[in-house]
Symmetry: D2
Subunit: 397 residues, 4 copies
């Protein structure tokens, strides 16, 4: 029942959220070493969070003897180097999202980790929100039939740290920052073995004076015929809008993770305080979130990572998933540029063939039943097609 | 203060909704003549709705001396003939959506009506819902700044009448049936003078055994840079999902017209009755709609049509709007087929040039301000870009 | 098909809402005469609303030859005089809520109108909201079984006009202003023939420097055993909160008329405008209402009143209902003062005896079934009581 | 960083929820001993939950050397005996809600635990939901001003175990089962030092064939003038309805813990599965809860209990709180019986005097400002009272 001891790389918002999650509510895992490129930030972070060791030496942090797991919470362009060091020293590694800036870099990271045989978990938190976990389980259990469509929406007024806005360091804009979540959420609903085939996309820079896109929409076709859809924005007004919708042949799921969770507050502005991440106002109608790190999936994500490590299984989200996400994002950028559907290039597809969404033909009086519906008076109405003549008719039974 | 006397063409669900709207709640306008291709249906409809005259003769219905307005509530392939007769006889005409099966047919209808100089209103009801009217007014009033994105979603388990399912009579599937609403809602939000430029789209037939699409998604680029998005489906489970979302540089609007309107009911199933159009169940949690014809826009739509007719102005929705919608739908089908963005062909664009969504550059310490945000402690944080070096930084002020 | 011609008494907010409702959207009924105690206000109101005649002479307004119906929209203490004049001149009268300041005054009004044999409608609008009409119909249809509990909540930051705050003119505070709505909503759900028997109540003046209560809660026992509950407040922050909840043996109904109706807007405050009656803010998250007069019941209320007048039937809400409401409010004040349940005195109860909410005894293995529930695995669990021994047990079947 | 080792008394639903909470998600505290009156149930529970020791000997369970904390999850009438044994053996104890069947028994339990000097935590979980914790913090921080009203509602179709239905074992019905939560939630909002003074109440048995009440409503007056209100029911249809509302002079809070949390699912019924505790249906519109034990407060409750034990402070909820709750419930039953407000008898009140909710008088032109409101055109309207003449007026400034 001993817990894990963690080296945390990075002291930004994500490093802070990760550390608070691990140290919160009676957990048995702890951060013991923290690394930052700045000594001041490393020391301050260690002090605030009760961490014994801080350092500005990346390799020292990774090889530190008091820890057995490394968490990469660095800007995107620094993931590769950190993971190569983990691989070199045979240390388990968990990497924040996105895995890399593009599929080529992601593939190098994947091959490095797999070549070294280290445990490699992909910290895609939003797949682990309590709502998403239960919703995915309901889908797997057949409660909404075959998934036909999944929409994931992640929008807010823009990220907190400077490096996100620099396309060079980040590898892109809102797509790389937020679309990576959406893609993995969509894959979790349509089935992770269901191959993403091609992408159509729109990106634009409408508000902020930057080179990278601050708004994007993409459509992803899957092998089964299902369609994925995502909208990301760094210009949304009103807080952080994290909503997913799934349609199936037998049902529908809607989740709202942040702005409408059954917690509503009006304040005239007297005694105003913190509401929630990326909330824009502290008066008027406010929509706080009960326990942010739990609702955003951090608690269940680390539980899965460490449980997987303990039991010798893969995490639910692996570097391979991170690589697939990067491959889809590459196709998003290609499609936005070419103005046409672009294929998703995955050299190493590991999923099984997925059958087309089934349409079973039913007959009534020798005609094809197109649709059946209940009328207000309780009777059933059938829309029928005569396949011989091509004529459509309706009948009430 | 005298009202109008109406010839109703068609006795299907839409003719019934129209008639009930006109006859409901102390209105001064009435249906006096009803036409159906079936004499039985015409007579039954006249009896049920207290209408004096019924006929199976289209020209007789249109020229009937006791009426001054014709409402076309016929299947799509019959619009042209009916409107040509109205034009021939110089009678005001209101036509249900979509105006036609394609832009060519719509243009013929438009030219016919304008050539004859008759009043010609386009019965696009969902632009007239009380929520949409107030939301569009808020947008026009600048309350959400420049519109950057508008999403309209119209999905249900499939239409009630047989002819909808026949691509020949209808001119298409879910796009023609539902997308026409979405396009006009999106145009109302981004501005009707804001030219729709090109379209990307996905369509598929996933569930029903028909040739036409039962699911579609489309993106519409407007001259201002704004993006429109719609999702339509005949395979949605859970009722009729009519939701719109608008994002602007200064705000956000969400409307839900049918499934979540502040009216919730649980019933064990004892004493079950009618809930709402296209509701799928009569037990469990139900979401009725208070006054369907008002919430769906019929009341305000006819008020606008008749007020326009009385005052000699155009209706808010005209045949020209119907033609533009058909032009966009043609581009949707072309894009779905070609797999690329397709231009929207409008021979006769009547809008004014619309400027690009504005991005005003702000400076702080000689650097470009990328973003400004409020921190939990009340201070302001700026993300800055040094245009000379290209470096990004942040500063708290 | 001719409409009615109306004398409007009063030019305050309620007179304006009434007039706009009548003149809006193609109605055939119109206000032709308006009366105010101030000539300036009468003239201004007539000008703004296209009304031919204005006067400061009450009797002249009531007897004016161009109208056939009088609407009383005056402060509470002026209802009696106006209605006596209507009775004297045999003119149909519709009176705003509450009918009077107390049951004694209400009974005098009722007797006066009934003695003269005039049509007398009680303008209790919130019973007529589209949601309430459909919800009451669902209850009448048995969809939630026997009603066990009905809660009505009406709260806002306080009324707009000075006279409301003066207990002398108004007859009370928040109870008289808002509780009258709640009582009639509760009666509509539990059944208007179901006699209200006694009341417990709390009132207090917590925030405003007035003598009348600015907050109150009351419980109303009905003959069937059902319990009514209302909360009223003039100190609510966040807008106007109008919500009703009904519990029955077979179901539940929740309605939200104003603050959460499926219409949500965020605005940074640029271009701020009017949101809705009693909304407190024009920036941040806002919750507008599509069509206020329709959502508040005015449209359906006047339709019922005039249809009733045309067809010679009583309106759904009559002066008798107004009298019962006043009797309940008298008991609320008595109970708040005495600190105990107080009987509701209705001299002239016209309802039928209402049976106690039924409890049918079911047996399993010779024991009484207390409860039956479905377990996650689909089996049914019974809680049983052995009436001989008094022992409780459970069994899974 | 070592965790605690727990003896769990009781293997019902509450013992299971407690154990799953402790064993879930990387916690460092574990159940090591389980006690049940039935050896079969004790062994089965131990097997399912990986617990080393099981026993039917209460004193053996409590004194077991491998544990340092006892959790009492037994029926209400067995709490006293278990806690007396903990006191005798000087072992820390956490007791489920309600503490006892009445205030006298609760006082004996309190005195026993305090006399022995043992750590004694009261497991009132719903005060610890993430939403409630954050909402109470907002209230403490002044974000809604002085609390004027707090409503807590806890209703469902009835409890799962037989003993709840037996008034002898339970001490009462829905009040004892559910009202205890409501009272403590209300106290947390109005301030736990704010003395509850008197109670008015209604109870009835409307549906189930039992002696205890299956429905109740109560009003609680506090020293500050604030009013608490709760509704409890064992006959609610539609699932488990847990909602709280708080009104303050500067704001409003609404929380919904179970039925509307931003997670909505429609299922035709194919592949139906478990939805949530006390959900009534597995098809139609369903409202699952992401992580039930977290949303119901168990996670944060045990974290507080063990953190308090580690640091030598009291838990947020102590046996004293449990005693106060029982005292209020006694007054509820007394008031329901007497039909009048009944005083709450607390022999040992430990709170500080709480001032009356403040009303500050403001003047304008020598008159008292009754209310100030913003008009649609942006101007401010004042309602004024002339204290000399008693006249009310309004002015726009």
């Amino acid at each position: 029942m001993d817990g894990h001891r963690v080296t945390m790389l990075g002291t930004g918002l994500i490093g802070l959220f990760y550390t608070r999650t691990l140290h919160g509510r009676r957990g048995r895992d702890r951060v013991e070493v923290v690394y930052s490129r700045s000594g001041d930030r490393a020391r301050a972070f260690a002090d605030e969070n009760g961490i014994s060791h801080s350092t500005t030496d990346l390799e020292e942090a990774i090889t530190h003897g008091s820890t057995d797991v490394v968490v990469v919470g660095l800007p995107n362009h620094l993931h590769l180097e950190a993971i190569e060091l983990c691989a070199k020293h045979g240390k388990a590694v968990l990497c924040t999202k996105p895995l890399a800036r593009n599929a080529e870099e992601a593939k190098r990271i994947l091959d490095t980790a797999e070549g070294a045989g280290i445990f490699a978990g992909y910290l895609e938190d939003l797949v682990y929100t309590p709502k998403t976990l239960k919703a995915v389980a309901a889908v797997r259990g057949g409660q909404i039939g075959d998934v036909t469509w999944a929409r994931s929406r992640e929008t807010h007024p823009g990220p907190h740290s400077a490096w996100f806005w620099d396309a060079e360091q980040a590898g892109g804009g809102a797509v790389v920052d937020l679309g990576c979540h959406c893609i993995e959420i969509v894959r979790s609903y349509v089935g992770k073995g269901n191959r993403p085939v091609e992408v159509a996309a729109w990106t634009d820079t409408l508000v902020h004076p930057i080179e990278a896109e601050d708004n994007a929409i993409a459509l992803i076709k899957f092998e089964s015929g299902a369609i994925g859809q995502f909208e990301v924005s760094w210009t949304f007004r009103g807080g952080m809008d994290l909503r997913d919708e799934v349609a199936g042949t037998e049902g529908t799921i809607w989740t709202n993770h942040f702005l409408r969770t059954g917690f509503e507050m009006f304040s005239s502005g007297e005694g105003a305080g913190y509401v929630a991440e990326k909330a824009e106002t502290t008066s008027g109608w406010l929509f706080p979130v009960g326990d942010e790190v739990a609702e955003l999936g951090y608690v269940d994500m680390f539980a899965d990572m460490f449980d997987a490590l303990d039991s010798g299984r893969d995490a639910t989200e692996t570097f391979y998933d991170g690589y697939v996400v990067n491959a889809v994002m590459d196709a998003v950028y290609a499609a936005a540029k070419s103005g046409r559907w672009e294929p998703i290039r995955i050299d190493d597809w590991r999923g099984e063939p997925t059958p087309r969404i089934a349409r079973t033909r039913r007959e009534h009086d020798g005609k094809t039943v197109i649709k059946e519906e209940q009328m207000p008076d309780g009777r059933r109405k059938l829309i029928l097609k005569d396949e011989a003549t091509g004529e459509f008719s309706d009948v009430v039974v």
